[in-house]
């Protein structure tokens, strides 16, 4: 723990990734203003931005240290990868939906990749991973007392209730 402003100003690496993702998003929207020519590269910028942003945002709070942390880290990378592959496949594969298209669990190929890839896979894994990696010790009475003791004496302990 440090109060040195110079150290404090150093960005958390996840914040750096969020910044990069936001720049990609802004670039994507800016390209859209260029009309038809900018629409496709704009969509690609949004694909990249989303693939970076979702895991980076989760990394702001997910436990990333120790054995469990390495599993969570792997899951976050995998989430970004799944989003990237699913969205990129939807953009890159030919738009060949037709009356005789083969269906995968009710959807044509590109839609199935998006819905079951980016929609269902993380949904099956991430909430269970959260439960598995949750560190309940943060709410131990001793830890809460330790944090309370760190509160400056001139701070309002609690707004009126």
């Amino acid at each position: 723990m440090t109060s040195d402003p110079a150290t404090r100003a150093r960005p958390h690496w996840a914040v750096g990734l969020i910044f990069a993702a936001a720049v990609l998003m802004l670039t994507g929207y800016a390209l859209a203003f260029a009309g038809e020519r900018g629409a496709a590269p704009g969509a690609w910028a949004l694909v990249l931005g989303n693939a970076v942003l979702a895991p980076a945002a989760m990394a702001l709070g997910a436990p990333l240290r120790g054995t469990r942390g390495s599993v969570v880290r792997g899951a976050l990378w995998a989430t970004g990868f799944v989003i990237l592959v699913a969205f990129a496949a939807a953009l890159a594969l030919p738009a060949d939906e037709a009356a005789d298209s083969r269906l995968f669990l009710g959807f044509p190929r590109r839609a199935a990749i998006v819905i079951y890839g980016a929609g269902v896979l993380p949904l099956l894994a991430l909430p269970a991973l959260f439960a598995w990696s949750f560190d309940a010790r943060a709410f131990d009475a001793g830890n809460i007392e330790r944090i309370r003791a760190a509160r400056p004496v001139d701070r309002d302990p609690a707004p009126p209730s």
Binding site: F33, N50, L64, V114, L121, F130, A150
Partner: protein
Amino acid sequence: MSLQGVAGTQSSSVIVMVGVAYFAVVAAIAAWASRRTRTAADFYVAGRGIGIWTTAIASMAATISGFSFIGGPGLLYRIGLGAVWIVLPLSVTAAMSGWVLATRLRLLSEVRGVLTVPDAIAARYRSTGAQGLAGLAIVIAVTGYLATNVRALGVAIEAVFGLDLAAGIWVGTAITLAYSASGGILAGVYADLVQGALMALGSTLVFSQVLLAGDALGGIGASILAADPAFLSPWGHLTPLAAISFFFVFGIGTLGQPHVVHKYYMIRDPKQLRWHPLIMTGSMVLAQLLFIGVGLVVKALVARGELPPLARPDDATPAFLLGYTPVLLAALVFSGVAAAIMSTVNAFLNVGAAALTRDIPAGLGWRVTDPLRWGRIGTIVIAVTGAILATVSDTLVAFLGIFGWGLFASTLVPALAIGLSWSGATRQGAIASILTGLSVTLGLESLAYFNVFAFPAGVTATALALVSSILVFILVSLATSRSDPGPDPDIRAIIESAGA
């Protein structure tokens, strides 16, 4: 549309009886909760005494408005799978919110006694100014959101009970207000439990009827492909940019929804937060089955010629319920529509009242002496304002309604979610990002609404405001880090209590 004219007399009687029974249950919860609401903590955070199942299902019910039951299926029927991108982020949002906010907000509640999201922002940045600005953004967003939801509630009551729209709006407002003002969030979360269960059960049962009527997902897909292949492309009839943009806005934007994330304050045993994303995701998936199922099956039934093309896309759910489900299930879902709207309205009233009577006064340097009484007065003021707006002008409602989600997201995501995770964030960064979210959302949405200019397909004011406020937050924080005193030691410990 009145059910009296569409359903048979017997069917409409069943629907009305189920609706009356539902409202009676909500009234009973209100009466019970009002006797247990004695302090502001009871009123705003249910005395921090709610169990995990109730908290998680209440979070789901507050998230899902009537849109998922009426507007969503209608949108899917109209634009195809592009609409699914609105619910696609569900795959990551509950875990994301749990990791980023659950532990930190709850520890803030334990250590600093915070009751609202702007309270947390004030504690993080030692800034009542940031608290007041966040409160102002919440009041503006809540007012617009509330007007649209109250109007939708009026439409639902009009359809079920045959009242005129204005009467429906005031009856719906009065019922919701009765339990929101008397029992506060304590009444709200237990009503949400009933409402959420009703939504999930009704949605799941309707989905089973969807599979029967459509000849499973394969039959539905084949029928649609034969008539309109583009409907089942990943983007439907949207552009790729528009569809992918939904994922961004409804994904990361979840971290700034105060009526949902403040539920973390309420749980009795914070160690049970472990199960929150699992329960919330599971119940959200069930409740969203209707959104996707009905939108798809109605399109398939129209493609097969078994249903006439809909005059209005929003008729998709009523048309399917009345034509393809048992009357009792239709009645359950019509009550579920009211439930979805009322639970969202209650959550808005709660955070709006808190912002109006607690956060904005704090920003102005005023100290409220009787917060429970003022909380109740604030609830009434916001509810009546929403109902008046909903009654006087549908154009005004449409205009105000566009500010909801985007304003929450662009003003609160950076200062709350990133700021509670990054000790390098500064007070100036927080204030600048909230002001950016407010000005970009209100400015661009107003210009677009009044046709001063049109965005390219896929670009929305919400998305631009969210991106801008994130960038401004990080850049201003980096630029001002040397002059900023940084978080208090206890807040720093909370920031470091989760994450890398």
